[in-house]
């Protein structure tokens, strides 16, 4: 059974035996080779390796030497529907998620039109019920048309299925406006998620303000633009005792502000993207538009602070901010190209290769942070235990792949990791009890 605020097309329930995989679920404490039997979309049995056998009609996956984790959760994706289906749609976006090992997605409302009315939200959840390969939930906008001046009908939107609210892509510039939204949250419920940026400080900036922008002559976005807003809005959240989530944190001062206000008792949380965890402004030296995103890639001290925040738990989860754009849009001079990188297909592999393999972060911590993003919005956490709905991903950690070599499941190819060789090949994704991706079959075909 799917959560009432998640939408997915109907699939047959999985009947599957995964044999001899190393099963790791930090929440249930499993960390050893096991057989896993999935029956009617549920985890029916977990047994010693080689101990379980499948009834006839049950597919068997030989997985010795490979890993099974709870499937990943991404609380921040842009699926571009409605209105920008030339970049991505619910089918291709969720195919990309399935290929990346995800079992839950939360889509952002900065579409065309913006998800600021029950009508638009209902039409979207209807399409998701027909097309989404992976259970998908939706945030609605805080303000009408992301305009920053008029509150969306938050209570009605919550009743119609919105998991929360965000003007992502834009900040809520007015502190007074945000305060009203946070007060209104007591009626509507739902987390308020914030893209933090002060437009007066960002100015015409399109990359991190620092040594690289000084060399390139490209206008910079100071880290101050984000951190001052995190501090301001944490203070408002504390004052109103509201629940606020900070999206895609990129700067050292932002992480410090989050840690400080959490200590003060503010109900604030944060997320980090794979690109802010693994790349810096140095990548922008070539003016390759795949490295243009908002917030921008910052400096090494910022990157380390985001990693430390993720390690300590100040930052609770990893989120991709999957932001597809058409090829012709990204084939522009850097200052003109739109901001954003795709990330669903590379999220785990990038973090595993860049941070787990070199020993910067332990694997179990990364799995925990890659599955924590939905719970922040009240969604169930995928767990590997008998009786649970099957939400698992099978990964070959030893195999390598070259990003983009066989194209992308996403409709867009603007991936900042394009061409990189990563460890960690997703071979099978089971989401909400259904097999939604079988990479191992496609490769053997």
């Amino acid at each position: 059974m799917t959560h009432m605020k998640l939408f997915q097309k109907s699939y047959p329930e999985a009947e599957l035996l995964i044999r001899q995989a190393h099963v790791l679920d930090p929440r249930t404490g499993i960390d050893a080779p096991h057989d896993i039997l999935i029956r009617e979309g549920q985890i029916a049995e977990i047994g010693a390796p080689g101990s379980l056998s499948a009834a006839s009609g049950t597919a068997t996956v030989e997985a010795a030497g490979k890993h099974v984790f709870p499937a990943f959760v991404d609380p921040h994706v842009h699926l571009r529907s409605p209105g920008q289906e030339y970049k991505e749609n619910l089918d291709t976006g969720t195919a990309s998620a399935a290929a990346g090992g995800f079992c839950q997605l939360i889509a952002m409302p900065n579409t065309s039109p913006v998800i600021d009315s029950v009508t638009v939200l209902r039409s979207l959840t209807t399409v998701a019920g027909q097309q989404a390969r992976v259970p998908t939930g939706f945030l609605a906008s805080i303000t009408i048309a992301l305009g920053g001046t008029d509150l969306s009908p938050m209570a009605a939107l919550a009743d119609a299925g919105a998991l929360g609210f965000t003007d992502d892509g834009k900040p809520v510039t007015s502190a007074g406006m945000l305060r009203k939204a946070l007060q209104y949250q007591r009626l509507a419920g739902g987390v308020i998620a914030l893209h933090e940026e002060d437009p007066a400080l960002s100015g015409v900036g399109v990359m991190h303000e620092g040594a690289v922008s000084a060399r390139l002559g490209v206008a910079g976005i100071p880290s101050l633009s984000e951190s001052t807003m995190v501090a301001r809005d944490s203070a408002i959240a504390k004052y109103e005792d509201a629940r606020v989530h900070f999206q895609h944190l990129s700067a050292i001062e932002s992480v410090q502000a989050l840690a400080y206000w959490r200590e003060q008792g503010a109900r604030v949380s944060g997320e980090a993207t794979p690109h802010h965890l693994t790349l810096t402004e140095e990548a922008v030296r070539t003016l390759d538009t795949r490295f243009k995103m908002n917030p921008p890639l910052r400096n090494e001290a910022d990157r380390q602070a985001v990693i430390d925040g993720l390690r300590s738990g100040v930052i609770e989860c990893i989120a991709t901010d999957h932001a597809p754009h058409a090829r012709y849009e990204k084939e522009m001079p850097f200052e003109q190209a739109p901001m954003g990188t795709t990330g669903l297909e590379t999220s785990f592999a990038a973090v595993y290769t860049e941070l787990v393999k070199p020993g910067v972060l332990p694997l179990d911590l990364v799995i925990e942070r890659m599955t924590a993003g939905g719970a922040l919005y009240g969604l169930p956490i995928p767990k590997i235990e008998v009786g649970a709905q099957a939400n698992v991903v099978l990964v070959d950690l030893d195999s390598t792949w070259r990003v983009g070599e066989h194209g992308y499941a996403s409709r867009s190819e603007n991936c900042c990791f394009d061409g990189r060789t990563f460890n960690g090949v997703v071979e099978l994704t089971v989401a909400a009890g259904a097999v939604v991706y079988e990479g191992f079959k496609e490769k053997n075909a």
Binding site: E209, G210, A211, S213, A214, R215, L216, G217, V218, G220, P222, T286, L287, Y328, E331, M332, P333, F334, E335, Q336
Partner: protein
């Protein structure tokens, strides 16, 4: 593989010296009655200018003409560029003419680099946003070498709106490669954060301007006042205008043009014998001939062509 000139970083000191030696020979050609050499006869050079420009576009055009190339000039106004055609589409259309070189001026950083993806022609960056203007830097080095022999150990101050200046960024790199020490000075709002990471020093005032051997003055645009980078052009001039009074004996003054008399530099300095501005303009043609020659003819000895 085709060569391009996108950034000063594409060149090492030897590469700069080689181009400037050629420029020296071409400068001699320019002194003759018949100023043309047949080096690029039958080849086409496209000047693709997305920004208004007088001296850069005319000197590239003259440089290509004096090398006997066929020249196509495309400017933003009145062309399909203004009808919203993308850079890629424009370049691919032009590539049908099989140009040997495309000279690109764009208001956006990285535009010339992008063009290299879509053409087999050699690409010359004639200014990309606030990023680079490498041929300006080469002609500035050429001008200084002709006057002083070498830049080694020279103190060069670049004064004014460094934040918005592609010339400053190319010159900082080129002057340092040639052995000079560079200091930038100007209103703190117009000096980029972390500019010292480029190896130069930064000063908020002209108090130590006497340390400079060369004072390189940048253009101060009226828009900067409107964008509140400075309170007024009057206040700018009061603090940063290069006047006789601010200069000491022996200092030389440069400016990439066009100048605002009485704003960043006084009229009497421009017109005095300590100004190298006229030399800079003259150097433009010879240096751009040398760049086109370097990219399109390369290895052959210059004497054979210039003879």
């Amino acid at each position: 593989m085709t060569n391009h000139l996108i950034s000063v970083e594409d060149l090492d000191r030897d590469g700069i010296e080689r181009i400037l030696q050629r420029a020296q020979s071409f400068a001699e050609v320019s002194g003759r009655e018949i100023k043309k050499v047949p080096a690029l006869r039958g080849r086409t050079v496209v000047n693709l200018f997305y920004e208004a420009s007088t001296r850069t576009s005319s000197s590239f055009e003259l440089a290509a003409t004096r090398l006997s190339a066929d020249v196509i000039n495309i400017r933003a106004s009145g062309s399909s560029i203004e009808k919203g055609e993308s850079l890629r589409d424009t370049v691919q259309t032009l590539t049908a003419y099989e140009p040997a070189a495309i000279v690109v001026r764009s208001p956006y950083a990285g535009a010339a680099q992008l063009v290299t993806n879509w053409t087999d022609a050699a690409v010359v960056n004639a200014g990309d946003g606030k990023h680079e203007h490498p041929t300006q830097a080469l002609l500035d080095v050429f001008t200084l070498q002709r006057r002083l022999g070498s830049l080694d150990g020279l103190n060069i101050w670049i004064v004014g709106d460094v934040l918005h200046s592609r010339v400053a960024r190319s010159d900082i790199a080129a002057f340092q490669k040639m052995g000079a020490r560079v200091t930038v000075a100007g209103p703190p709002t117009l000096i980029p954060r972390d500019i010292e990471s480029l190896g130069c020093q930064a000063r908020p005032t002209l108090a130590e301007l006497h340390q400079a051997d060369i004072v390189y003055v940048l253009r101060m645009q009226r828009e900067r006042m409107e964008e509140a980078f400075v309170p007024s052009l009057g206040e700018y001039s009061a603090r940063y205008e290069i006047t006789r009074d601010r200069l000491r004996e022996g200092q030389l003054v440069m400016h990439p043009g066009p100048v605002n008399r009485g704003v960043e530099i006084s009229a009497d300095v421009i017109d005095s014998d300590i100004s190298l501005i006229g030399d800079q303009v003259k150097a433009g043609v010879a240096v751009r001939m040398a760049v086109l020659y370097e990219l399109l003819v390369g290895g052959a000895t210059l004497q054979a062509v210039a003879a």
